[in-house]
């Protein structure tokens, strides 16, 4: 093994959180910073010829290479887990920019009470209302504390939208249910395509409060506080699973990388696959000493560092901690150990596939252009009469209308799935089909967790991460209720036929839901029940910080990127203002 000269900072992972931390430390300190990214380099120019559904959407060109590493899944701990042999329910990215390159760029904030679900729910409905096997926790940080950092994230990405609550003042046309914002969005809402606009009208006539989806596919040219300029979106429709060919969609490579490249103290090594974090093992304290990685030529390298940020994709954060033997692995039988607990996904599905008489021209749009409503989100409606807690957002976006993925959806009245009758319906309905999506909260449960798989290995021979994950009645009943609401909306929109969502049964690894799989290295107020403190600092190793959505104690309904950016900004401030002066526990 080759040992390199020590550096001040190593950042594992070159996605949104890793590169944001690199940018902040590069701009605000003279520390030597090395970003280790296991995938390849990327830049906007690479995306000039990526508008190919087959290679990018069907064959997953931008995703983590599952032939090398995947995860295993079982629904409960009595089962033997099986590997997810191909991508399905979520899509981890790879390469510089990570999943932040191929995202849809939908950018809502979390509702304020998401950070305090346990105390707010108990307060309002009593602790008996919580599922018996729940593992819900408060985050240890509040919306009010995060708001300034959310605003920085808005400005960084130039998010397009319409505010519904500026410092407590409700504004019609925006999301009146959102947490307070200190300012209007940096750019106005995106253009709204036809399908989304009829959804808005139907929602209004049913008494809801629809608003434009907050979008990092920016509505017009924008220059952010770092001086980075991006063009406005052209609504080509190639957002999700693609990189943006013109850089209108904010991505780490067009928003953070150009700033980082100006800083001589920051370097990015690609093809550097970190396999272990080396540390002084002791029960309660100690420190991380560096990382061992396999470089692009397969050589093992030890990179010593004073300060380490683990900033890989959510699930990979937990796996690397487990592989490195950092912290105590969670045991659901005793509920002891904190590493790997509180695995959550999202209750995300197409609530209704609606078939219309008129063509929708759905090839035009962007991953985030559309309309959503939050009337049924969080605890914004009274749950005393409902058999479930919490909720989520319904939306009509103009994403994912590419023909291989979408042609073939036909009303239930068409019985065949191939041949002339099916073909006729498939051709007719291809551009007359719209989907109302739902994205809802997933509560944390004691038996939904992660550990290392005893059987299956990655291409290095290291154990894969094992997910023990299934839905509970709360999610199933929420899904049923939201499906009936979406049906009402689709009928109000004038749909001729509607195919409702078939309901949640066992967790289905083949149906794409969202790439927002969270938890495992959660934040909280004590080392017994969390892995990191509210500054994302590891409880035992004070020079190790674990960034990203692995820190979420349970999932919110919204897309996580603005929240992980806000949390990263907050950590960067704590590092620069406090930790560097006194490298010790921040909480």
């Amino acid at each position: 093994m080759k040992t390199l000269p020590s550096v001040d900072v190593v950042i594992i992972g070159g996605g949104w959180t890793g590169l944001l931390m690199a940018k902040e430390l590069g701009s605000r300190t003279a520390l030597s910073v090395v970003v280790l990214e296991r995938g390849g380099p990327r830049k906007t120019d690479d995306y000039g010829d990526d508008m190919d559904e087959l290679d990018y959407t069907i064959r997953f060109r931008m995703m983590q290479d599952v032939s090398q590493e995947t995860v295993t899944l079982r629904h409960d701990s009595s089962q033997r887990a099986l590997p997810l042999r191909q991508h399905g329910s979520f899509l981890p990215g790879s390469g510089v920019g990570g999943a932040g390159e191929h995202w849809s760029a939908v950018c809502p904030r979390f509702l304020p009470d998401c950070f305090e679900v346990l105390s707010r729910t108990t307060e309002k409905y009593g602790s008996k209302r919580l599922p018996e096997d729940h593992a819900i926790q408060d985050w240890g940080v509040t919306y009010d504390e995060l708001e300034p950092h959310y605003t920085r994230a808005d400005l960084l990405l130039g998010i397009s939208g319409k505010a519904g609550n500026i410092r407590g003042q409700q504004i019609e046309g925006g999301n009146i249910f959102e947490g307070w914002r200190s300012a209007e969005y940096p750019t106005p809402p995106t253009k709204i395509p036809y399908f989304s606009s009829i959804f808005a009208e139907a929602a209004k006539s049913l008494g809801y409060h629809p608003y434009p989806v907050p979008a990092a596919t920016t509505s017009r040219a924008y220059t952010n506080p770092d001086g980075i300029s991006r063009p406005g979106c052209t609504y080509c429709g190639y957002c999700e699973t693609f990189g943006c060919m013109i850089g209108a969609k904010s991505q780490p490579t067009n928003t953070l990388l150009p700033v980082i490249q100006k800083h001589k103290n920051v370097s990015i090594r690609t093809g550097a696959w970190v396999r272990r974090i080396v540390h002084d093992a002791s029960e309660n304290k100690g420190s991380a000493r560096g990382v061992i990685y396999s470089d692009a030529n397969g050589q093992e390298v030890f990179q010593p560092a004073e300060l380490i940020f683990l900033a890989s994709w959510t699930l990979n954060n937990t796996r690397l901690l487990l592989l490195s033997g950092i912290g105590k692995a969670y045991d659901p039988a005793t509920r002891k150990g904190s590493l790997g607990r509180n695995l959550t996904h999202q209750v995300a599905f197409s609530a209704v596939t609606a078939f219309f008489e008129k063509p929708l021209n759905r090839f035009m749009g962007s991953g985030a252009s559309g309309i959503m409503l939050s009337d049924l989100d969080g605890d914004l409606f009274d749950h005393s009469k409902h058999p479930f807690l919490r909720g989520g957002a319904l939306s009509a976006r103009s994403a994912r209308s590419l023909p291989i993925s979408e042609c073939g959806a036909v009303p239930k009245s068409v019985k065949s799935t191939w041949g002339s009758e099916w073909k006729k319906a498939a051709l007719h309905y291809y551009d007359r089909t719209g989907r109302i999506g739902f994205s809802g909260e997933h509560l944390a449960y004691q038996d939904n967790y992660m550990d290392l798989d005893p059987v299956y290995k990655d291409h290095f021979g290291d154990p894969l991460l094992r997910l023990t994950l299934d839905w509970r009645e709360n999610e199933r009943k929420m899904a049923d209720y939201m499906t009936t609401k979406a049906m009402e909306l689709a009928r109000e929109m004038g749909a001729k036929e509607v195919n409702p969502f078939s309901g949640l049964r066992s967790y289905d690894a083949t149906r794409y839901q969202s790439s927002h799989v969270q938890g495992g290295a959660i934040m909280g107020s004590s080392p017994e029940s969390s892995v990191v403190n509210p500054y994302l600092q590891h409880w035992q190793l004070s020079n190790l910080f674990v960034l990203g959505a692995s820190s979420f104690p349970q999932n919110a309904s919204a897309n996580p990127t603005p929240t992980i950016l806000a949390l990263t900004y907050r950590t960067a401030d704590a590092i620069v203002d406090r930790y560097l002066k006194n490298p010790a526990a921040l909480a």
Binding site: D52, P83, I192, D431
Partner: protein, 221 residues
């Protein structure tokens, strides 16, 4: 070295001269003729290609609603996919142990690669291309629930609507059928117009739009 095998595409069925260009794309010229082109096969034998072409044509038939899998060159598309990384299972986690009877929500858990699934499945379709249409449909109904058929159906849809650089959707015949224009650099002026009416720009392929010789994934490794 295997014997060179070819699939012959008839121009008459498409209504124009087929040209097999140097960059291995098939496209159509407008003149009416009976010419045909011979396309070298990468994976299938000639008879296998004929079975696949015939089966794909029952899944996505040429009929009164317009052209189908035959005109789109679906068999050529599938041949190239099978010969490429997808067919060899380059995109799948293939470490054992394998659990053949896993519940559907875990996805395909078997050991066989797409190449092997096709080769095995096609053994059951010997002489398929010479059957009458109704007999072909009956045969396919008997295998409707097999993994082979589900791959064939999915690959047929892919071959209908992929970018022509992949060998299917010849002359964008699939995109024309459904009114999909292919990749467009900008819809800025139109995205919030044409409400309730079909807006159908003339389709263009990725190579036409970018003026670059974009290489398809099946040729990369």
């Amino acid at each position: 070295m295997r014997r060179r095998e070819f699939l012959t595409l008839s121009a008459a069925s498409i209504g124009g001269v087929l040209v097999y260009s140097l960059d291995r794309e098939v496209f159509r010229l407008s003149a009416q003729t009976n010419q045909s082109v011979r396309i070298p096969l990468r994976f299938f034998t000639q008879s296998e290609a004929l079975f696949v072409a015939a089966a794909a044509s029952r899944i996505f038939p040429s009929d009164e609603t317009g052209p189908g899998a035959r005109e789109a060159g679906v068999a050529v598309y599938i041949d190239r996919q099978l010969a490429g990384p997808w067919g060899r299972d380059r995109y799948r986690y293939t470490e054992g142990p394998f659990e053949g009877n896993a519940p559907a929500e875990f996805g395909y858990q078997g050991k066989a690669t797409p190449q092997q699934i096709y080769r095995q499945g096609l053994k059951g379709l010997k002489g398929f291309d010479r059957l009458k249409a109704e007999e072909q449909d009956d045969t396919l109904k008997q295998i409707e629930t097999t993994l082979f058929f589900s791959l064939l159906r999915q690959n047929t849809i892919e071959g209908m609507f992929c970018d022509p650089m992949h060998g299917g959707n010849i002359d964008m015949v699939g995109w024309q059928l459904i009114g999909f224009p292919g990749p467009r650099m900008s819809n800025y002026d139109d995205v919030d117009k044409h409400f309730g009416e079909a807006f159908r720009p003339k389709p263009a392929s990725l190579r036409q739009v970018t003026r670059r010789k974009v290489r398809p994934g099946e040729d990369l490794e």
